[in-house]
Structure formats: structure tokens, C-alpha cells
């Protein structure tokens, strides 16, 4: 499977009468976006605002972040099973508006989501302080059931990202990157002397506000499966998870999975990237047992020499992470884990909720319990009403002047556990 990803670099975003890309500037038609969102009768309010890197802007509470992309050729459409019809993606050509993002925000439930600051000390922790953001603030019908509201919010983000992505269809990209993974035997034959490497991608799938979808299927309903790495770049995986801001894998992060990108960078040089094993993070221990058995079986079947494993979340998923690590190691396969840490306020407690001896190679994406302070911002997109009830916030977090003191957890994707950021933790 071969995908040409055309990267159209965006360095500014502006409102305009027509949604289009011109000389690296993304123009969006505010009214069209708002109309698009309000097609869903579960939502009664939609307001579009823009946020650019360096501005004194705070966005809260954030539900999801997406990169606008469009499928130019090769079959299927972006976000298959959600926006486009279910059809295999990952081949042909896709255009991405790199440097732009769609951010959905507004109240979903009273206790989650997080913050993006476009400037100041907190901006350094989130990748979305560096993107030109089209923010969609949504408002639900009174009394809308929680499941329905989550779904409406999720769909709004996907629709707007697809709509904005269309603007890149006929634009000549600044660069085209080609990614290719062949069917198993051919792929092994291509670099017979290099170690065969796979990526075990654990998807959050515990329940409401903790779900992820693969071609439209709730990840808790599938059993572990094989995926070509390029499928994810066309939106085969989307996020329905909006709890725990710091290590939330947004849809943006699925489209731009850093492990897949970095494995491709060394593909054919010091390793042979065979493909992705998708698995889930379940609540029932028997489901964990079954899924980790199947992960190890697939890894063995694919003849892998080494794997990277990433998780999403803390606590329950740590158990899946450790079970996957143990069982894959027992097949004689080398394992490296990537995760973030929660060692408590003083940094002295155990960082993970589970541990196995086989987990001897672990990359840290930083610890989320660190307290940070962020100054007031001139403009708020969304509302600060929920700061104190977000994960990482607490009573007294929001001060009268609009400044905030909270745990790092409150910032979107600050300790994201797939290695997207440079943040790490070490022992002192």
C-alpha cells in the first residue's frame, strides 16, 4: 500500500468569503462552517473563531483537534466509516493542510477536556499552540443525553475538518512524502537483512468518552487486527475520547502518528517496518487477556523482531500495556514501550499503575502531575467556567484575574503517550 502525502504548508488563517488556500494562507467562510455544524439538530449553537500562534488566546474546554485533509485520488474518502463511505483508504494521494487545525470546543460534560494556550509558558507544552486553529464552539440542545452530545461534538469536528480539507484538493503541495508498506512477504523480501519491526497501537476503548473508532467501528467491539500504516493517514482511526486532556490522542495525532512517521524515517536504513497491530484497552480482564493474546499471536505470525507499543490513558490501560509487553516479549520479540507518567504531586510515587519485569525499555513522555502556572490571556475562546473541574484543575485553580494554577494534565496533549512531544521525565 502506497500513499503520497502532499503537505500544503499553512502559516496563517483568516476569515474570507470563500474557504480556500492561497499562498500559504487558509481563508475560511465562517457562515458556511456554522451552517454545516448546525445541520445536526442536536446542536443549537456553533460559533467559529480563529487562533494563531503567539496570540494572547486561551481555548477551553477542548474536545478534539483535527488536521484538515482531503483524499485526492486512490479510492475512499477521508474519515471512512464516519464521514466518507466505508472503503479501504491509505493508497493514492492525500493532501494535508499542515500547520492548520480544527479545534472543537464547548461544554460536553462538566468534568473533562482541557486547555490550549496560544502563547505564554503553557504554550510550550501543547503542539496546538503552533498551529493556526479554526475553533468551533458548539452548544447542545438543553437536556441532550450525554452519549448523543458526545457523538454530535465528534461529528461536528469531523465534518468541519473535511470541509476545510477540501480547500487543499487543487493546491500544489509544498512537498510530497511517499510512504509505502508492501504485503508481508514482499515487505520482508525488500530488506531481508534488516530487523522486522512492528508497531502495536493501543486504542482507548473503555466506554463513553473513552472510545476510538476504526472505519467507524467502536474499538472495544473489534479483536486485534493488522493495519497498513498509511490507512491511519487518511483518517481510518478517529478519536471519541475526551477525558484526560494531557494524554488524549486527538484525531490530529492519529493522522500524524509520530511512531509511524519515525519508523518510516528509518525504514530501509536500520529496520524493516512491517506494519501496525491495532488493539484496544478494555475494562474486563478477560477481554484484556484475549486482546493481548491476539496481539502476541499477530506479532509472532508477522515474524517481527521488535515492536514499539504505545498506550492512551493512565491506570487501566497500564495493565494492557504491561500484558502486551509481557506476552510479546515471551515470543522472543524485543519490546520498547512509550508512555507518560503520574508519580503524584511530589513526583515520588510509582509512575504507572502496573509493572512487569519485561518492561525494561521505556520511553517517558513526561509526568502530568507537575503544577504549572499560566498567566491570563486577553481572549478566551469557549469558556473558563469548567477550569476547576477539568482533570488537572481543582478548587482555586482559576484566579479572579484569569490566571490559572493547575496540574500539567489540564493542557491538551501535553504528555501525549505516543511520543509526539519532546517532553520527558527523568529521575532526580
Amino acid at each position: 500500500m502506497k500513499l503520497e502525502l502532499g503537505r500544503i504548508k499553512i502559516h496563517d488563517v483568516q476569515f474570507g468569503p470563500e474557504t480556500k488556500v492561497e499562498k500559504g494562507v487558509l481563508y475560511v467562510n465562517k457562515e458556511e462552517i456554522e451552517k454545516l455544524v448546525l445541520e445536526d439538530e442536536r446542536l443549537i449553537g456553533a460559533q467559529v473563531e480563529l487562533a494563531r500562534p503567539g496570540e494572547s488566546v486561551r481555548i477551553a474546554p477542548v474536545k478534539d483537534v483535527l488536521e484538515p485533509r482531503v483524499k485526492v485520488s486512490g479510492g475512499g474518502g477521508i474519515f471512512p466509516g464516519m464521514i466518507s463511505k466505508v472503503k479501504e483508504v491509505g493508497s493514492g494521494r492525500t493532501h494535508a493542510l499542515v500547520g492548520a487545525a480544527v479545534v472543537t470546543c464547548g461544554k460536553i460534560v462538566g468534568f473533562q477536556e482541557g486547555i490550549i494556550d496560544m502563547s505564554g509558558p503553557a504554550a510550550a507544552y501543547t503542539p496546538f499552540s503552533a498551529t493556526n486553529n479554526v475553533c468551533v464552539v458548539i452548544e447542545p440542545q438543553e437536556g441532550l443525553e450525554t452519549h448523543d452530545y458526545e457523538a454530535a461534538g465528534r461529528m461536528a469536528g469531523l465534518k468541519v475538518a473535511s470541509y476545510v480539507g477540501e480547500a487543499g484538493r487543487n493546491v500544489e503541495p509544498d512537498e510530497v512524502v511517499v510512504y509505502e508498506t508492501k504485503p508481508l512477504q514482499e515487505q520482508i523480501a525488500q530488506y531481508p537483512d534488516l530487523p522486522k519491526v512492528g508497531y502495536i497501537h493501543m486504542l482507548q476503548s473503555q466506554g463513553l468518552l473513552h472510545d476510538t473508532y476504526y472505519y467507524g467501528v467502536d474499538a472495544k467491539q473489534f479483536i486485534p487486527t493488522f493495519m497498513y500504516p498509511t490507512e491511519i493517514m487518511d483518517g481510518a482511526i478517529i478519536s471519541g475520547n475526551c477525558v484526560a486532556p494531557c494524554d488524549k490522542v486527538t484525531t490530529f495525532h492519529h493522522l500524524n502518528n509520530p511512531v509511524i512517521e519515525d519508523l518510516y524515517k528509518r525504514h530501509g536504513k536500520d529496520l524493516n517496518f512491517i506494519g501496525v497491530i491495532l488493539t484496544n484497552e478494555n475494562v474486563f480482564l478477560a477481554d484484556k487477556e484475549r486482546s493481548s493474546d491476539m496481539v502476541a499471536k499477530l506479532a509472532e505470525f508477522m515474524g517481527l523482531d521488535g515492536v514499539l507499543i504505545t498506550e492512551e490513558g493512565y491506570g487501566n490501560p497500564d495493565t494492557d500495556l504491561m500484558m502486551n509487553c509481557k506476552k510479546v516479549s515471551q515470543k522472543g520479540i524485543d519490546v520498547v514501550l512509550i508512555t507518560d507518567e503520574f508519580p503524584g504531586r511530589d513526583g515520588k510515587s510509582q509512575s504507572l499503575a502496573d509493572a512487569v519485569n519485561e518492561a525494561d525499555a521505556l520511553v517517558s513522555c513526561g509526568q502530568g502531575n507537575l503544577i504549572i502556572e499560566f498567566p491570563p490571556m486577553e481572549k478566551i475562546i469557549g469558556t473558563l467556567d469548567y477550569v476547576e473541574t477539568m482533570i488537572g484543575g481543582y478548587e482555586g485553580s482559576l484566579r479572579p484575574d484569569g490566571s490559572i494554577e493547575a496540574e500539567l494534565q489540564i493542557i491538551i496533549a501535553s504528555t501525549i503517550a505516543n511520543g509526539y512531544n519532546r517532553l520527558a521525565a527523568r529521575g532526580y
Partner: protein, 130 residues
């Protein structure tokens, strides 16, 4: 037979109406930690965990609600893993509580927390757990 330990009335109702037979211990005034501690009592009595005690990404000092499903087994059967999991979970929960206690939530938010907690259990009806 499965045993549900919960302080969430929605989870209690789900298990009482469930097609499978579930015994319910409902701690009406219990905290998240109370549910974990009661769970540990039962694990020490030879029960085995069916669900992970820390499920959900809402941290133990955020949500007031917790539900854990267990199953009775003979005392000699291997429940090492359950012992380890519940101990680690209690340690982790206490770590977060030490940071900061659970906020006093309004009614609407408490309802949302209950709905999320319940959503972790609903697959129980659709699958076989042996």
C-alpha cells in the same frame, strides 16, 4: 455468580436488570476509595476481579463513582493477579487523593459521572466471561 461492588445507583440498576445474575453490594454513601477497599476485602476472601478497578481515565480524585465486578472462586485458585491489581489500584487512588480530594460536584455532573462509570460495564451483557 458475579458480584458488583458499587456506589453508583445506575450501575446497581443495570446489574439488577441484567440478563445475567449479579449480586450487588451497593455502598450508598461510600466513596470511590470505599468501593476499592471493599473490593479488596472480597479479593482477600478469594474473589477474582472481572473488571479493572481503575477503569476510565477520570482520575480517582475526580469521579466520585466506582463500580467493580468480581466473581467468586475457590480460595485456592490462583488470584495472585487480582491481589496485585487491587493493591496497585488502591495505592494509585490514594496517590491522587493525597494530591487533592474529590471536588463537590453539581447534580448534572454527578449524573454524567454515573453514566460514564456505567458505560464501562455494559459490555458484560453482550459477552461471555469465563
Amino acid at each position: 455468580m458475579a458480584l458488583l461492588i458499587t456506589n453508583n445507583d445506575k450501575a446497581k440498576k443495570f446489574c439488577m436488570d441484567c440478563r445475567k445474575e449479579v449480586e450487588v453490594i451497593y455502598l450508598a454513601d461510600g466513596t470511590y476509595l470505599d468501593v476499592l477497599l471493599r473490593t479488596r476485602d472480597y479479593v482477600h476472601r478469594g474473589y477474582r476481579l472481572l473488571t479493572h478497578p481503575l477503569c476510565g481515565s477520570v482520575k480517582p480524585n475526580q469521579t466520585p463513582y466506582r463500580s467493580v465486578l468480581l466473581e467468586k472462586q475457590s480460595a485456592r485458585e490462583e488470584n495472585f493477579r487480582s491481589v496485585e491489581l487491587i493493591e496497585n489500584s488502591i495505592d494509585a487512588a490514594r496517590k491522587f487523593m493525597r494530591n487533592r480530594g474529590t471536588p463537590r460536584w453539581n447534580e448534572r455532573t454527578r449524573e454524567d459521572f454515573k453514566t460514564v462509570d456505567l458505560s464501562f460495564l455494559t459490555v458484560y451483557e453482550q459477552r461471555n466471561y469465563v
